[in-house]
């Protein structure tokens, strides 16, 4: 899985890397679901997720928050993630899976903005995102 956990005293950091910014959004959402225990192998449902923001950094946090809400509050368990549209101020994606409400492994309170920056390093898009646990 293209993410690694990063030490943070109070919470958890995830460092996500992908060839493009679009793929970064997908991989970050996948990493978040993995940390929460919200992934599943199968599902017949699909949900459209949208978020708005002032730039890609904010969009990434808002997008991940929408995914978090869907998993924690709506009980959606995720089998696949595709990004449909990413502009400077908006993101739309599709999550496949099911509303099974299967137990989660970890409670993530929030996706924070702390020191967040989407950087391009060695032809990869990289972001370190701190989750409040």
């Amino acid at each position: 899985m293209p993410y690694t956990l990063v030490d943070h005293t109070a919470d958890i950091g995830m460092r996500v890397s992908a060839p493009t910014v679009e793929e970064l959004f997908v991989e970050a959402a996948h990493a978040l679901c993995d940390i929460m225990g919200g992934l599943t192998d199968h599902g017949e449902d699909a949900v459209t997720v949208r978020a708005a923001g002032i730039d890609h950094d904010e969009l990434l946090v808002r997008w991940l928050h929408e995914v978090l809400f869907l998993v924690e509050v709506k009980g959606f368990r995720v089998s696949g993630i595709t990004l449909q549209d990413l502009t400077d101020t908006g993101v739309t994606g599709m999550l496949a899976g099911s509303f099974s409400g299967a137990p989660l492994l970890a409670e993530v309170k929030a996706v924070t903005y702390h020191n967040l920056e989407i950087a391009r390093i060695d032809n990869a898009c990289v972001a370190t995102i701190i989750l409040d646990m």
């Binding site: 956990l5 002032i54 950094d57 970890a106 309170k109 702390h114």
Partner: protein, 480 residues
């Protein structure tokens, strides 16, 4: 700590010199042992970042349980002028009014141990805990839920879940004035409503302790504490409702900060003037979430009292179960502070810090006027906790003190160190009985993951912020 100029002022205080863009100095309460824990941390930079926000009054402070947070450091205390300062959701945190309450009992540890296994199992069954826990039996909705947000602990009393005497054992009598349920989003209500009356997970806990040392006999008597006494600590907050309120308003303030011309050293410090529309809306929503947390802890206390009644027979009053104190750890409050010889109306942010009023303070209920406010300092689950009393020196911290031991290890590192160990058995060998909804949570919360709370308390008492009253030793706990 690169780029910061730090000097030790005395055995209990470190100053961070003011350098641009800081508007004031940083002041960190730390003895030498605490200072060593900061060497690998970014927490001091976070103290400096807070010092750069507009309208800050006095230094940007951190209590000795300081550690790396997001935006503000954990342990951070900062006051902003109500006239030209800011309010920041990140300065309160996602778990709004996460806090702790201490309930006294009239029982000695020897009264409890013969039925301890049954008591612990019953508490585990009766108090919903763990990831995604909900409480259908205490569910409320509609206008009733709005009253929870408006009234806090007063709602619990009104509904008969708590005796009226509990109220003056709460910070602000268990209700932050100015709550605006209309400023709480539908998403926040959907996320938090089913969780009223639940402990949650992470570092939240329910713990039975014995008073194993009384340091100040007169104040302990005033608090109703005696050696050998069993007390109950509960640590939880506003659950998903608070998480969502904070998230909604951080999002709104990222763009508001830009509109108001506020430069942010870290976007998580997103803020708006206290007097702005965004600032007022956040305060109303935050106060509502804080009131949810007061009600949440009271409902958990209700469940604990019922459990004690089931296990030991008789009423909770006959068992001597009364609230000592309930306080906020993550909050922003409108308070009148003293700085530079002036009294200033300020919005005081405490993120991982607690209020600490000294003897004689008119804001205290009559029962604490002579003693000062109880300051509850939970340690880790294997060592000890403390009860302190606010002292006159707390004027310099705008009447704030530490809130706990403070984390030393990341959750990731704690899990690595716990791998292969049987934490429940380790605790049992120390005479501590534990039940946990999740083994992973238990691993994250191992005692090694925290600073030695004695160092934290020594710093607070040495600096004259609080005085030691009693030491507690845990002997049973439920972890989320």
């Amino acid at each position: 700590m690169s780029g910061l100029t730090i000097r030790r002022l005395d055995p209990f205080r470190i100053e961070i010199a003011r350098t641009p863009p800081m508007r004031t100095t940083g002041l960190v309460y730390a003895n030498r042992a605490i200072e060593r824990t900061l060497e690998q941390e970014n927490a001091l930079q976070q103290v400096a970042n807070v010092a750069a926000l507009p309208g800050i009054v006095g230094p940007s402070m951190a209590m000795p349980d300081i550690h790396w947070g997001y935006g503000f450091p954990i342990g951070g205390v900062a006051a902003f002028s109500r006239d030209d300062g800011v309010i920041s959701p990140g300065g309160v945190g996602y778990d709004i009014n996460c806090g702790v309450c201490c309930m006294l009992t009239g029982m000695r540890v020897g009264d409890v141990t013969p039925r301890l296994d049954r008591l612990l199992a019953s508490l585990y069954n009766n108090v919903p805990a763990g990831v995604g826990s909900s409480n259908k039996s205490l569910a409320v909705s509609g206008r009733e839920f709005e009253q929870v947000l408006e009234l806090g602990a007063r709602w619990a009393v009104k509904k008969g879940y708590a005796p009226p005497g509990d109220l003056d054992a709460h910070e602000d009598a268990g209700c932050i004035a100015g709550a605006d349920p209309d400023a709480v989003s539908a998403k926040a209500i959907e996320r938090g409503q089913p969780q009223l009356g639940t402990l949650g997970s992470g570092n939240h806990f329910l713990e039975l302790d014995v008073v194993d040392l009384v340091a100040d006999a007169e104040t302990a008597r005033g608090f109703g504490l005696f050696e050998g006494q069993v007390v109950v600590l509960v640590h939880t907050g506003s659950r998903g409702l608070g998480h969502q309120v904070c998230d909604d308003h951080v999002h709104g303030m990222v763009s508001a900060a830009s509109r108001h011309g506020i430069a942010l050293p870290d976007r998580q410090l997103a803020c708006a003037p206290v007097t702005s529309v965004e600032g007022r809306e956040y305060f109303g929503a935050m106060a509502a979430a804080a009131n949810f947390a007061f009600a949440n802890r009271e409902l958990i206390v209700f469940l604990i009292r019922k459990t004690f009644e089931e296990v030991f027979g008789g009423s909770f009053e006959r068992l001597g179960m009364r609230m000592l104190f309930d306080c906020c750890h993550n909050i922003a409050k409108m308070e009148r502070i003293e700085w530079g010889g002036r009294r200033i109306d300020a919005c005081v942010h405490r993120k991982g810090a607690t209020r600490a009023l000294p003897p004689g303070d008119s804001r205290l209920p009559e029962r604490f006027r002579r003693t000062g406010q109880p300051v509850l300092v939970p340690g880790d689950m294997g060592r000890m906790s403390f009860i302190l009393a606010g002292a006159s020196g707390a004027r310099e911290t705008f009447y704030s003190a530490c809130h706990g031991a403070g984390r030393l290890l990341s959750r990731h590192e704690a899990k690595k160190r716990a791998k292969g160990r049987k934490i429940i058995d380790e605790l049992r060998s120390r005479g501590i009985h534990a039940m946990a909804a999740s083994r992973a949570t238990l691993a994250e919360e191992i005692p090694d993951a925290y600073k030695d709370v004695s160092d934290v308390v020594d710093t607070m008492t040495g600096a004259g912020i609080a005085t030691a009253v009693a030491r507690l030793r845990p002997f049973a706990m439920v972890k989320g």
